[in-house]
C-alpha cells in the first residue's frame, strides 16, 4: 500500500464530526449495572443450582404460603387484585435467597425492566417525591444533573441513614398496556403474579412482589406504569443495606395513584 493511500485512510480519524452525546456518567452508570447483572446472574445461577438440588426441595411453597411470606417483606399491602395466572407460570424454579438476613423467594432469572430512553417528566418526579415524603420517608437530593435525566436514583430511608433508594426510568412500549403487562408478568423474577390496577388517568399499574435485588445486596419492589399513550415508567424501591424496604407496598401504590391522578 502506498504512503499516500495510508495517509488518506489515516486522515479519516480527523475532520468534521457531530458532538458526542455519550457522557462519562452514562457509561459508568450502564457499566455498573452490567457488572452487577453479571455478578447477579453468576450468583443466581449458583443459587438456582443449589435450590434445584436441595434447598428448594424442602422450601417449596404453595401460592398462599408465598403470599404470607411476601407480605412480611412489603409491609402494609394494597388491596389491588393479583393478576390471575391463567396457567402462566414463572420462567424458572423456586429458589430461596438470603438478603440482609431475610429469606426471599425468587423464580427464574429477573429481566431488566427499565428501559431508560426518555426523560422522566418533572411533574412526575415532583409528585412522586412529595408522595414519598408524605409517607414519612426521608427523600434525598433529587439531582438535576442532565446525565441523570434518564435514570433517576434517589436515596430514600426511614431513618435518614442507609442505602435504600427509589429509582425511576422512562421509556415506551408497543401494543396495548394489557399485552405488555401480561408479557412482563413474571419478568421481575417473582414467584407470585403481580398486582394490577387501572389508575385514574387510564394508566395500568403493575405492582410486583418484592424479590432479591439482582444488582444489589437487598430486596427490590418494582412498579410498572403503562400509560395509555405508550409511555412506560418503572419505579423500583430498593432496600439497599436495610432489612426492610423504605416504604410499604401500600405506600408505593398510594404514591402511584396520586401521581396518576395529579
Amino acid at each position: 500500500m502506498s504512503v499516500e493511500e495510508q495517509r488518506a485512510l489515516h486522515a479519516l480519524l480527523v475532520g468534521p464530526a457531530p458532538a458526542p452525546s455519550t457522557t462519562l456518567d452514562l457509561v459508568i452508570r450502564r457499566g455498573r449495572r452490567t457488572r452487577a447483572a453479571r455478578v447477579g446472574t453468576s450468583t443466581l445461577a449458583v443459587l438456582l443450582f443449589i435450590g434445584l438440588v436441595g434447598v428448594a426441595i424442602t422450601c417449596l411453597r404453595t401460592p398462599s404460603e408465598l403470599e404470607v411470606a411476601n407480605s412480611r417483606l412489603v409491609g402494609e399491602q394494597v388491596d389491588w387484585p393479583r393478576v390471575p395466572g391463567d396457567g402462566r407460570e414463572p420462567s424458572g424454579p423456586q429458589a430461596l435467597v438470603t438478603r440482609n438476613g431475610v429469606l426471599v423467594y425468587q423464580c427464574g432469572i429477573p429481566q431488566d425492566l427499565g428501559v431508560a430512553t426518555q426523560e422522566t417528566s418533572g411533574s412526575f418526579r415532583d409528585a412522586l417525591r412529595s408522595a414519598l415524603a408524605e409517607r414519612g420517608a426521608h427523600v434525598g437530593y433529587w439531582g438535576e444533573d442532565p446525565a441523570s435525566r434518564y435514570l433517576i436514583d434517589i436515596p430514600v430511608s426511614v431513618d435518614g441513614d442507609g442505602s435504600a433508594s427509589v429509582a425511576v426510568s422512562t421509556g415506551d412500549y408497543q401494543g396495548t398496556a394489557a399485552q405488555e403487562a401480561d408479557v412482563l408478568m413474571f419478568a421481575a423474577g417473582n414467584c407470585l403474579p403481580p398486582k394490577r390496577q387501572r389508575l385514574g388517568d387510564g394508566t395500568t399499574a403493575q405492582l410486583y412482589p418484592a424479590v432479591p435485588d439482582p444488582g444489589g445486596i437487598g430486596i427490590v419492589m418494582h412498579a410498572l406504569l403503562l400509560r395509555a399513550d405508550g409511555q412506560r415508567v418503572l419505579v423500583s424501591v430498593r432496600s439497599g443495606d436495610q432489612p426492610a424496604l423504605p416504604i410499604s407496598e401500600a405506600d408505593l401504590a398510594r404514591a402511584l395513584t396520586r401521581v396518576a391522578s395529579g
Binding site: M1, E4, E5, Q6, R7, A8, L9, H10, A11, L12, L13, V14, G15, P16, A17, P18, A19, P20, S21, T22, T23, L24, L26, V27, I28, R30, G31, R32, T34, R35, R38, T117, Y150
Partner: protein, 164 residues
C-alpha cells in the same frame, strides 16, 4: 477504592472516546451507530475495569469495539437501541473534504470483515499483530484480509479520483 478506579476510568474515557468513535464511524459509516457501538464498548470495558490491566485496556477496547461492529453487521441492525441523544450533524456540514467522503464511500463498499481489518490497520494505525489480537485471528488472516480489502477499496476508489 471505587473512586480511584472511576477516576482512572474517567481519564481513560476522556482521552479515547472521540478517537474510538471515529474509528467506529470509519467501520460503519453512520455516526449514530458509531456512537452506540463506542458507548457499548466503553460500558463493557468499565464493567471489567478491575480485571483489565491499564496497559492492556486499549487492546481490550479495540477487541470489544471490533466485535460489536461485526456483531451489529451480522444482526443486520435487528437490535435497535435508542441512544440518549441523537448526535448532531457533523460540524461544518457532512463533509468539508470531498475526497475524504469519496474514500469513506469506497471503504463502505468493502465487506465488513475486510473493512474492519483495513480500519484497524490503516485508520487506527495498528500493526498486523495488534490487528490480529483485536480480531482474535492469526496474523496470516489479517494479511490476506488486508490484501483482499485493499483490492476492493482500490476498485471503488480508483487512482484518477485520488487527489492525495
Amino acid at each position: 477504592m471505587v473512586r480511584a478506579r472511576d477516576e482512572e476510568f474517567a481519564e481513560f474515557f476522556a482521552a479515547r472516546f472521540d478517537t474510538y468513535r471515529r474509528i467506529a464511524h470509519a467501520m460503519c459509516g453512520d455516526w449514530a451507530v458509531a456512537e452506540e457501538i463506542t458507548q457499548d464498548s466503553f460500558v463493557k470495558v468499565y464493567a471489567r475495569w478491575s480485571k483489565v490491566r491499564r496497559d492492556t485496556a486499549d487492546a481490550y477496547l479495540r477487541t470489544v469495539l471490533t466485535r460489536s461492529f461485526l456483531d451489529t453487521r451480522r444482526r443486520g441492525r435487528a437490535r435497535e437501541r435508542v441512544v440518549a441523544e441523537v448526535p448532531d450533524s457533523p460540524v461544518g456540514g457532512e463533509s468539508t473534504i470531498p475526497d475524504q467522503e469519496v474514500l469513506r464511500s469506497a471503504l463502505l463498499s468493502v465487506p465488513p470483515g475486510q473493512r474492519a481489518v483495513l480500519v484497524l490497520r490503516f485508520v487506527a494505525d495498528l500493526s498486523v499483530e495488534q490487528a490480529a489480537a483485536a480480531l482474535s485471528c492469526s496474523t496470516g488472516t489479517v494479511k490476506s484480509q488486508t490484501a483482499r480489502g485493499l483490492a476492493t477499496l482500490r476498485a471503488a476508489y480508483p487512482e484518477n479520483v485520488r487527489s492525495v
